[in-house]
């Protein structure tokens, strides 16, 4: 090997922070890395037997079913300095959505930063929340059912949301960074598929990269 991956990804002298790569490809989801948080037995989170299937987060047909995976109880990422890249798509289904990003706890974390693709919205959105107050900023890209590359960067005083390499939204208020709550801890990545109609919702994720900046 001419150069190490570390050399390629970092500048000389850098001490890299924590980083993870997940391909979501192969025989079985690594459940030593990912916790499945499923509403009930009708929801699943398994690798898909399809070309570019990735991990399929699939709900049942009960309203507000959730199919989610996250690193439950392992909050390793600094709220004021971490980032994520993911490749995902939401399959067409009434009332379905995905939320992919960071949270400080599960379930119903009040401190989050994530990108949402929702049939009930007009556009993709960056959503942040600092306790009881949240902030949703529309992207310029309409919600759809295609694969896109999402990127979230958490800075000390802002959260940036990208789609396919373009900065689409910047939240500077109602972000987890602006509060200090005892026991709030740090971030964990989460991937969540939900629907609010009586139909199956499904999200496919083929790549995830998370690191501290």
């Amino acid at each position: 090997m001419k150069r190490s991956l570390y050399d390629l990804c970092n500048s000389p002298g850098d001490i890299a922070g924590i980083r993870m790569i997940e391909w979501f490809c192969g025989y079985a989801l690594n459940t030593e890395r990912w916790s499945k948080d499923l509403t009930d037995g009708n929801c699943t989170a398994e690798y898909s037997d399809e070309i570019d299937g990735g991990v399929a987060l699939k709900t049942g047909t009960d309203t507000n079913d959730v199919a989610q995976i996250d690193q439950n109880f392992t909050w390793q990422y600094n709220i004021k300095g971490c980032a994520m890249i993911f490749v995902a798509k939401r399959l067409a289904s009434a009332g379905s959505r995905y939320d992919i990003g960071f949270q400080t706890g599960y379930p119903n974390s009040q401190y989050v930063a994530h990108i949402r693709n929702n049939t009930n919205d007009t556009y993709y959105r960056l959503i942040t929340s600092a306790g009881t107050t949240s902030n949703a900023t529309d992207f310029s890209i309409a919600e759809d059912n295609d694969f896109h590359t999402g990127k979230i960067i958490n800075k000390e005083r802002s959260v940036l949301g990208y789609l396919d390499g373009v900065l689409e939204a910047t939240n500077t208020t109602n972000i987890p960074q602006e509060v200090s709550v005892a026991g709030m801890g740090s971030y964990e990545p989460f991937l969540k598929c939900t629907h609010n109609a009586s139909a199956v919702a499904e999200t496919r994720v083929t790549y995830l990269e998370v690191w501290e900046t």
Binding site: C9, N10, W23, A28, E50, I51, A83, V87
Partner: protein, 242 residues
């Protein structure tokens, strides 16, 4: 602590390109193989172990990576993605670093059924090293593609002219819309499935367009009568859709 570049950018060139698709990397470095030998919902592993012929095949980590050991006699032992077929025959790549022992054939690439002894659709290299054949003809790497459907049903094996040795080698299979290529140690050495415009047909068997595929690695003991089990070693596998 600043990440100068992301792995995503290094692999995909730019965020403005088509989003990266199915991709897997397995380096087979651990105390136990990253494979499962059962088939239940709680299984882990990048690969599923498939002992498809015989019952004494085994898997273990060694200094040379994953060891795939066959049963004695004419027996096959295999790992693959089992029912998860994420790769597209119109555009995917299989790369590996591996080596074989005597009297065993290391067959690897893509297939559409890891559980079947003979996969209906496959595109694999066969690196066979036989110590017992007097004419030495088996000791070359061949490239084999098979399709189960028209317009190019059947299979063909193309002699690469590259000798099999007992040393580790790198191979790369590139499946494209018009042909499939095999490179050994960085040199293109075989192409099958070229489309002949003059007759508007494939000249060689070619896997059906868009066929879902999974990586497949098979150790095939090709020496009978049974004497001893034989080994193949795999230290790196990378697959991706292009």
């Amino acid at each position: 602590m600043v990440l100068k570049q992301t792995l995503y950018e290094l692999m995909n060139g730019s965020f403005h390109n088509r989003p990266i698709r199915a991709h897997m990397v397995e380096e087979f470095t651990a105390t136990v193989p990253n494979i499962t030998e059962t088939d239940s919902s709680s299984d882990l592993g990048a690969f599923k172990a498939e002992t498809v012929h015989g019952s004494a095949g085994s898997f273990a980590m060694t200094d040379g990576g994953l060891r795939i050991r066959t049963n004695t006699g004419a027996a096959k032992n295999r790992i693959g993605g089992h029912y998860n077929k994420s790769f597209n025959s119109n555009g995917c790549v299989y790369e590996s670093v591996s080596r074989t022992d005597m009297d065993v054939s290391l067959n690897q690439g893509f297939g559409d059924s890891t559980a079947a002894s003979d996969q209906p659709n496959h595109c694999v290299s066969l690196a066979s090293y036989s110590s017992w054949q007097s004419d030495d003809i088996a000791n070359f790497i061949t490239f084999q593609c098979q399709s189960s459907t028209s317009p190019a049903r059947g299979y063909t094996s193309t002699h690469t002219g590259v000798r099999t040795t007992l040393a580790p080698f790198h191979q790369k299979i590139e499946m494209k819309g018009v042909c499939n290529d095999l490179s050994i140690n960085g040199t293109l050495c075989a192409t099958v499935g070229l489309f002949d415009q003059s007759i508007s047909s494939y000249t060689r068997p070619h896997i059906q367009a868009g066929c879902p595929l999974t990586p497949v690695i098979t150790a095939y003991h090709n020496y009978t009568p049974p004497v001893v089990a034989r080994n193949c070693y795999v230290s790196y596998v990378e697959c991706y859709n292009t």
